[in-house]
């Protein structure tokens, strides 16, 4: 019994990490249709921002405050990745809208540059970020079953991010403009929406959320310049499987991949489990190319 419970929790945990990694991409790729290969590097930037915040706390603030660096690291990661995203959009991406292959190449190049920059600044070896003490240990639900606080924290963080994104996209004025521009750029412009501003903000927000993902990943282990490359494929998988352009789809996609991954790994082993998951995704997309949640409406006919 407790084995299944633990597997269920593991599945949920992997799903939450996948979702966090993919949420930013759900905006930049899902909504804006920019194949952003630098998404992984934006995650990496978020991770290093957390590392820097930790170092600053270590060096300049009294030791008893150290544990709270992580609370600050989340907004800092978001902010720094946001600024990177904004600069990227204004200097590069804006010239490549509607040219998916060009933007794929260009953003991949940006990703390489950012990786190398991180290597030059922080060195090639991985660096460790010390998790705050309040996230050590775990919740004991029964004998032999311990749910680590770190993983619970990431699940909570994802829920908060998701909620914030939902409120922003579907309930705010800015979000309404964003959806209008993504659906019908010309008409939105004719109504007086500043499409340039909306594009820049949207891309920056997607990047910022990638930064938060990077911050969370520091809890899972050491971080390095190529951190992003481990997650970029998974992130695209989640968004494509979920159905491009739908937040609910991304959630379902992440949950599906996370759960099946855990299940297959439990039945077989880590590498075969991954292969099986990919086979399932490919088969599923053959059957439903639009993904789990497809947009259905009269106007798309």
């Amino acid at each position: 019994m407790d084995v299944y419970l633990l597997q269920l929790f593991n599945g949920l945990s992997i799903s939450s990490i996948l979702l966090l990694v993919a949420l930013g991409l759900a905006i930049t790729f899902g909504l804006m249709k920019v194949i952003n290969m630098a998404h992984g590097e934006l995650i990496m930037i978020g991770a290093y921002s957390t590392y820097l915040t930790q170092n600053l706390f270590n060096d300049y603030l009294p030791a008893q405050l150290f544990d709270w660096y992580f609370a600050l690291a989340i907004p800092v990661s978001f902010g720094i990745a946001f600024v990177f995203g904004l600069v990227m959009e204004m200097s590069l991406i804006r010239f490549l809208y509607g040219r998916p292959l060009d933007s794929l190449l260009a953003t991949w190049g940006v990703g390489l540059v950012l990786q190398q920059a991180a290597r030059s600044i922080f060195g090639a070896p991985n660096v460790a970020v010390k998790s705050p003490a309040w996230l050590d240990g775990g919740l004991r639900i029964m004998d032999g079953t311990l749910l680590p606080y770190k993983r619970l924290f990431i699940i909570a963080l994802v829920v908060v991010c998701l909620l914030a994104m939902y409120l922003y996209i579907y309930r705010s004025h800015e979000g309404r403009r964003m959806r209008a521009v993504m659906q019908n750029r010309d008409m939105a412009a004719c109504l007086g929406v500043s499409t340039r501003r909306v594009d820049a903000m949207t891309f920056a927000i997607g990047s910022g959320i990638a930064g938060i993902a990077g911050c969370a990943l520091t809890l899972m282990g050491p971080i390095g310049p190529s951190l992003g490359t481990y997650y970029i494929v998974d992130a695209f998988m989640v968004v494509v499987l979920g159905g491009v352009g739908k937040l609910a789809g991304t959630v379902l996609g992440a949950t599906g991949i996370g759960m099946f991954n855990t299940l297959f790994e439990y039945w077989t082993n880590a590498s075969l489990g991954k292969v099986l998951v990919f086979v399932c995704i490919v088969a599923f997309l053959q059957w439903k190319p639009m993904g789990l949640v497809a947009m259905r409406t009269r106007s798309l006919d």
Partner: protein, 231 residues
């Protein structure tokens, strides 16, 4: 109010409008007539700014708009009901209307009562998605969306295309009420001559990307119609 001078415009390499000059005065309803493919919609898009002018000028209330983006023009008081309605399909009807407020002066937070009163049937559809409405309902929505910002000039591109007769009558009534109640000018593209005659004050006939004839309702006689409009 709106003055288009020697406008030249088109898509990519192809030039559609060669030399178009027209004027719309405050409170006037001007109809653009012409066979398919003579450049009526192209002219509307050029006035709105969706197409960049290659030559000539578009000026509005004395200000030169030729180089301005569509959003800028909307904020100057031009409302646009495009061909095909261009409703935001994934947004609710109410959200569509709120987007109409983007160009409104000041900090308008609610759709003006007089705009929604033109097509009160929309009130019961606020929660539905724009894309789920029928063509006629979408047309009404596009109308109110354009009126929400209280424009001084309304561009209507074939508002009756594919619409059932009763709603065409409603639209005719709305255009007439806009004319009688306010100083809002209208530039209307229309295929149906009867409809155009029933609301228009002044008429331009386009042919091969240029104005071939212009005049008021009385001078729009059978000879003009035979020459420029019958197929």
């Amino acid at each position: 109010m709106l003055a288009v001078q020697q406008l030249e415009s088109g898509y990519g390499e192809s030039v559609i409008l060669r030399n178009v000059t027209l004027k719309v005065k405050p409170g006037q309803a001007v109809c653009l007539l012409g066979r398919n493919g003579v450049g009526k919609t192209t002219l509307m898009k050029s006035v709105m700014g969706l197409l960049k002018a290659r030559g000539g000028t578009v000026s509005y209330k004395g200000a030169d708009l030729t180089k301005k983006a569509p959003g800028e023009r909307a904020k100057n008081g031009i409302g646009y009901v495009p061909q095909g309605r261009e409703i935001f399909a994934q947004l609710s009807v109410y959200e569509n209307l709120l987007l109409g407020l983007e160009a409104a002066k000041g900090k308008a937070r609610a759709v003006p009562e007089e705009a929604i009163a033109k097509f009160p049937a929309l009130r019961s559809m606020y929660g539905r998605r724009g894309g789920d409405l029928s063509g006629g309902q979408q047309q009404q929505l596009a109308f109110v969306r354009a009126l929400a910002a209280k424009p001084d000039l309304l561009l209507l591109d074939e508002p009756c295309e594919g619409i059932q007769p009763s709603i065409v009558d409603d639209i005719r009534g709305v255009i007439r009420s806009i004319k009688s109640e306010s100083e809002t000018a209208i530039l209307l593209v229309e295929q149906s001559l009867d409809f155009a005659k029933s609301v228009g004050d002044y008429f331009y006939v386009l042919e091969k990307g240029a104005v071939a004839w212009e005049g008021d309702l009385e001078s729009l006689d059978d000879e003009v119609i035979r020459k420029y409009l019958t197929v």
